[in-house]
């Protein structure tokens, strides 16, 4: 049970932003390219210096160590990044085989060479890598940006299960109106650095 709360958050041309994402809630954010959606997520994950504050269940970001904060308020970037040769080397805590299967990946995927993985496979694996940290809040930057419709639906279902089982707060950046329709309880548009409730005008 964790509520993610932003109070007067300002990062570069974005903000001030006030927003609260309740436990087990999924909030979607849309916005034109360059409107600052990624900047906002990065600021919440404490990857960029920013003003204002973010808190999880009343615990301020600044009061816990940065790695602890990032493990509980976890950012999944749009383009997955890898640094070792094999998939397995990127998973400190192994992987839940049920999740692998849910995303349409075989158990052998952990032994794959990253050089041979498709962009879509990497994106799904990167999502699992973050989910294995069991974050209380997820910051998702177009998590299905490189996926075909079937994989997209699988990811949506998995994230929906995770949200309900873990009572996680989800902040989801998406360009896909149909997806937002399917997953969001509330939706915002980021325009001129401010969040406006509702769909695009």
């Amino acid at each position: 049970m964790a509520t993610l709360r932003l109070r007067q958050l300002v990062t570069r041309h974005v903000g001030p932003i006030d927003l609260s994402v309740a436990a087990a809630e999924c909030v979607c954010i849309q916005g034109a390219s360059g409107s600052g959606k990624t900047l906002l997520l990065r600021a919440i994950a404490d990857l960029d210096p920013c003003q204002g504050e973010a808190s999880l269940d009343g615990v301020r970001c600044a009061s816990v160590s940065a790695p602890d904060w990032r493990r509980s308020v976890a950012l999944v970037v749009a383009e997955s990044q890898w640094w070792s040769e094999r998939v397995r080397e990127h998973f400190d805590h192994g992987v839940d085989p049920v999740w692998l299967e849910q995303l349409g990946l075989p158990a052998a995927a952990m032994d794959w060479d990253l050089a041979r993985c498709s962009t879509g496979e990497r994106q799904r694996l990167a999502l699992l890598r973050t989910l294995m940290l069991r974050p209380a809040a997820l910051l998702l930057d177009e998590p299905t940006g490189n996926l075909d419709p079937d994989s997209t639906r699988r990811v949506e279902v998995l994230l929906d299960d995770y949200r309900r089982q873990q009572q996680a707060a989800l902040l989801w950046v998406s360009h896909d109106a149909g997806q937002i329709e399917r997953v969001a309880q509330r939706r915002f548009v980021l325009r001129n650095g401010r969040l406006e409730e509702g769909g695009p005008a």
């Binding site: 994950a45 404490d46 990857l47 960029d48 210096p49 600044a62 160590s65 940065a66 790695p67 602890d68 990032r70 493990r71 976890a74 950012l75 999944v76 970037v77 383009e79 997955s80 990044q81 890898w82 640094w83 990167a126 890598r129 973050t130 940290l133």
Partner: protein, 267 residues
């Protein structure tokens, strides 16, 4: 010792080589003749000046003068490290990081050699202290500038990877560990190569100089081995210190990657 003193005529003969080379460069349109002549003139003047300075210094072996000389050498080396960086740290750290690391490693190693190994009296005897420091400093400078350059370039190139690792809750130490290891390795390659090739491929300059000046080869070799190890120690420790300090500086107190602390490439 039977040193054969060189006359100005002898040096003129060797200078002819440079002139011929410059003439060839002009004829083949290599475009390096100006640089060639300029750097030859520059090294002649610099070396003549340092010869005079050393003569005065040897005649007045006072600690203050030796320390002053060492200070000038390290400042110039620090500046050299700084200008060789494609992306250097902004502010005083651009200069201070390399200079501090060089100071720590080169001075420690030189003083250790003077006091424990050579045992000169006084321990700062300029005939030994200045050439030793010069050789150690010159090589440490190379190692540090290679290592720092590699680290900052690597961090800039792998920015997304580093931030993904941070976003996964890794500490900055773990996120940067691959780049740091690689940077230290790169800084150490030249001295490792020099040690492997010494005596077979190349006769190191110091030893050659001593032999030309009449020192028995075996004595010259002993000094060369000593100097080689001192250089390796100075370069190794200096590079480790510089790269570690720089890696720390790439992250702030909230363990964010701060590439804005580096200058843009080429500026």
């Amino acid at each position: 010792m039977n040193v054969i003193a060189l006359s100005p005529v002898d040096l003129t003969v060797s200078a002819l080589l440079i002139l011929v080379l410059a003439g060839l460069s002009r004829r083949l349109r290599l475009g390096v003749e100006r640089q060639l002549l300029f750097s030859a003139a520059r090294s002649t003047i610099q070396l003549l000046l340092i010869g005079l300075v050393l003569k005065v210094l040897f005649d007045n072996a006072h600690f203050v003068w030796v320390a002053l000389m060492a200070g000038v050498m390290i400042t110039v080396a620090g500046r050299e490290v700084m200008v060789r960086q494609k992306r250097r740290f902004l502010g005083w750290r651009g200069f201070g990081l390399g200079t501090l690391s060089m100071f720590v490693s080169s001075f420690t190693v030189t003083v250790m050699a003077l006091v424990l190994v050579i045992g000169t009296t006084p321990w700062y005897a300029p005939q030994y202290a200045i050439p030793l420091l010069g050789m150690i400093l010159g090589n440490t400078m190379n190692g540090i500038s290679l290592g720092l350059d590699r680290l900052t370039q690597d961090a800039a190139q792998k920015r997304q990877i580093l931030e993904t690792r941070l976003a996964l809750g890794q500490s900055w130490q773990r996120a940067i560990s691959d780049s740091r290891r690689e940077a230290i390795r790169v800084g150490l390659i030249p001295i490792i190569n020099a040690m492997s090739a010494a005596g077979i491929v190349s006769l190191p300059g110091m030893m050659t100089g001593q032999i030309l000046a009449g020192t028995p080869p075996v004595e010259a070799v002993k000094y060369q081995i000593l100097v080689m190890f001192l250089i390796a120690g100075g370069t190794g420790f200096g590079t480790m210190v510089a790269v570690s300090l720089a890696a720390r500086r790439l992250f702030d107190d909230r363990q964010r990657l701060r590439l804005d602390r580096l200058s843009l490439p080429g500026s």
